[in-house]
């Protein structure tokens, strides 16, 4: 490529990026859904019994985030009143067309699994009179009797749903990665690794959020953090963090090594445009530091008190890392004008339907729902009969 003076972007790029912060938020939220579900499944399917203290909460968290996963998309659509066209007249050559179906399937699966996991408690609380018991009567779906046999059947279903839910979570989130990975027009997106990168970072973010919320809720409830449970989560997080960062770096390394036609722009994208969010936040602050903290944290010798601190700090850092990763993919990819001669400016908007304030508002909704769910259902109860 010849050296060139001055930048040139296609004129339609001068209005900024087409996918805004809402499209950053959407994979972030679905990632949390998938990640939390994986933790629940580690307990229900893979017999990781030490995770029992968070198993129920993980499901509730997964559901609470899932319930709002479509909201950012809806806010982003320029014709939101036509949103359901995507299910009524899907064009299946589009990577996006399956979204409505995959999402509905997953949300239903989560709801059913939660109702089954909490069935005994729901039935118990539905017995009384008054408004509150009415709520549980509704949640019990009218079946107010439990027998040993019905419990057995429920346990089987929970197991089955957890098993189905694992590939479900992989599809839900791997699919989000494919929406980007399948765009050949954009060299920053177009890679078969994208679904795997999204999936591994989803699991990372889900576990990190679970650690942070577990510690927070324990403090609020005035109970001790279960050391074995936390240690196990930190170890799992550490492993998945390595996987995620390796994949992300491999992708970049490959681009750099091949030095393809667009590398002169991609390298500038990484080192200039995304210098802060990619190099500093995603790679150093969000990956390298938690890598060390988690390593120290999950070692047996570390004292439980320090473990809680290290777990919380690394959890928060990892959450920032994954958010930065979503930003770097979604916004970063669009900064690259398809003229490959210049960069599109991204000016974050505060107000407006797709502004940062609304995005922040949207992101608080799952937490509010989660708080409500944890008031209604005994999310911290440890099940003996789950296994």
């Amino acid at each position: 490529m010849m050296p060139h003076a001055g930048e040139f972007i296609f004129p339609n790029d001068m209005n900024g990026v087409a996918w805004t912060v809402m499209i950053v938020l959407y994979p972030y939220i679905t990632g949390l859904v998938a990640g939390a579900f994986v933790v629940a499944a580690l307990y229900h399917v893979f017999g990781r019994k030490e995770l029992a203290p968070v198993a129920r909460f993980a499901l509730a968290m997964s559901f609470s985030f899932c319930a709002f996963a479509t909201l950012p998309l809806l806010l982003h659509l320029h014709q939101p009143q036509r949103a359901f066209f995507i299910m009524f007249m899907p064009n299946f050559t589009s990577a996006m067309a399956g979204f409505g179906f995959i999402y509905s399937f997953y949300l239903t699966l989560l709801a059913v699994e939660i109702l089954l996991v909490f069935r005994s408690d729901i039935v118990e609380m539905a017995q009384g009179k008054g408004v509150r018991s009415l709520l549980y009567k509704v949640l019990s779906l009218g079946v107010l009797r439990e027998t040993a046999k019905s419990k057995q059947i429920d346990a089987k279903w929970i197991h089955a749903l957890s098993i189905v839910g694992i590939p479900g979570a992989c599809i839900l989130h791997g699919y989000v990665g494919f929406i980007f990975g399948g765009i050949k027009a954009n060299p920053w997106w177009s890679t078969a690794l994208m679904p795997v990168i999204f999936l591994s970072s989803a699991i990372v973010s889900g576990i990190a959020m679970l650690i942070v919320l577990y510690v927070l809720f324990s403090k609020l409830r005035g109970v001790r953090v279960d050391d074995e449970c936390l240690r196990s989560m930190m170890k799992t997080l550490w492993l998945f963090l390595i996987l995620a960062v390796t994949l992300e770096s491999l992708e970049l390394l490959n681009m750099a090594y091949e030095e393809g036609a667009e590398w002169h722009m991609l390298s500038r994208l990484v080192t200039e445009k995304l210098r802060f969010s990619f190099l500093y936040v995603q790679l150093i602050i969000g990956s390298s530091i938690p890598f060390v903290l988690l390593l120290i944290g999950w070692m047996k010798k570390t004292s439980p008190r320090i473990r809680v601190t290290l777990g919380t700090i690394s959890g928060l850092l990892v959450l920032v890392q994954v958010l930065a990763m979503r930003f770097n993919v979604v916004i970063g990819g669009q900064m690259l004008s398809k003229s490959f001669r210049g960069f599109v400016d991204y000016i974050p908007e505060w107000q407006g339907r797709e502004g940062i304030l609304v995005a922040m508002g949207v992101f608080t909704l799952p937490f509010i729902l989660l708080a409500a769910v944890s008031q209604i259902l005994p999310v911290w109860k440890i099940d003996a009969h789950d296994h």
């Binding site: 010849m2 050296p3 060139h4 003076a5 001055g6 040139f8 296609f10 004129p11 339609n12 790029d13 001068m14 209005n15 087409a18 996918w19 982003h76 659509l77 320029h78 014709q79 939101p80 036509r82 949103a83 066209f85 995507i86 007249m89 899907p90 064009n91 050559t93 589009s94 990577a95 996006m96 067309a97 979204f99 929406i179 399948g182 765009i183 050949k184 027009a185 954009n186 669009q334 004008s337 398809k338 003229s339 490959f340 001669r341």
Partner: protein
């Protein structure tokens, strides 16, 4: 989805077209041809000389009408567009005409004209007048002593044969007419902007007035009545040629047959039907 299921500007899309003789266009006519060829084989080897021709035609037909082309006797109209960059003077009349004809919002473009400047120091500078003013009055003047060469390149939707934009549209709002024109159904588009991301040429945008995807339609409302796109009509130098590339007698077919033709970003395999004369490697 066949174009014929669509709402919107489709009236002409399923009509049987009148066509010149000798054009093999349908499976049926191909079968007939093969049968004839087999029969004729016994009469002489003459027919055999036509087989390579037939193969060429069949290939070309597939490129042109796609898989769901309705079977009609003879040839189907297939539109194409040719930009001869060597003729463009960069006046920008086409941009103004397009804006007026299609009510394109300020700051958004269905077509635009890029200027490529090759400096003696080896650098290449590209710019574009986006102000919507006539002629390239807004672009900095060049010093002939510093410049090796400079030229203009008009851009527009390529109406690709293999369209990433149609592929990714989740609701089928982006579609292709039988004549190969890629359109957006504005009543169906949900405004997700996936197609904006998928088009490698920067030709799509979310129209700020209609809040749907938008792009060059080759002035479908004009060409379906036999007129030319506004930009073609207005161009004072004949840079832009539009017509039926399935008609060997059309101006565009003749120009395509006798010139060295290129397309933008051919490596992406979208097979544009907007073709170019006089591109250089720097034009993307």
């Amino acid at each position: 989805m066949s174009c014929c299921d669509k709402k919107g500007p489709k009236d002409a899309c399923c009509e049987t077209q009148t066509q010149p003789k000798g054009f093999m266009d349908t499976a049926e006519s191909r079968r007939e041809f093969i049968w004839d060829a087999v029969k004729n084989f016994t009469f002489g080897a003459m027919t055999l000389t036509a087989i390579p021709l037939f193969i060429e035609k069949a290939d070309a037909e597939e490129v042109h009408t796609g898989k769901d082309g309705k079977e009609v006797k003879g040839h189907t109209v297939l539109f194409g567009y040719l930009v001869d960059t060597t003729k463009c003077i960069g006046c920008g009349g086409c941009m103004l005409a397009c804006k007026k004809e299609n009510d394109v919002p300020d700051g958004q473009f269905r077509t635009w004209v890029e200027r490529y400047v090759y400096y003696k120091d080896g650098s290449v500078h590209v710019d574009v007048n986006t102000k919507g003013t006539f002629a390239f009055t807004e672009l900095p003047p060049l010093d002939a002593k510093e410049v090796d060469k400079a030229f203009f390149v008009p851009k527009l939707c390529n109406h690709c044969v293999d369209t990433p934009c149609i592929q990714v549209c989740p609701v089928g709002a982006s579609y292709k007419t039988k004549e190969g024109v890629v359109l957006v159904d504005y009543e169906q588009c949900i405004g997700c902007a996936y197609c904006v991301q998928a088009c490698p040429f920067g030709t799509r945008f979310i129209n700020t007035k209609t809040q749907t995807a938008d792009k060059c339609t080759w002035c479908y409302h004009r060409i379906e009545h036999g007129e030319k796109p506004a930009c073609v009509d207005v161009c004072p130098t004949g840079t832009r040629t539009f017509g039926d590339i399935n008609d060997p007698e059309s101006e565009i077919s003749k120009a395509l047959a006798t010139n060295r033709i290129d397309v933008l970003k051919s490596y992406l395999g979208t097979r544009p039907k907007t073709r170019y004369i006089g591109l250089t490697a720097e034009v993307v």
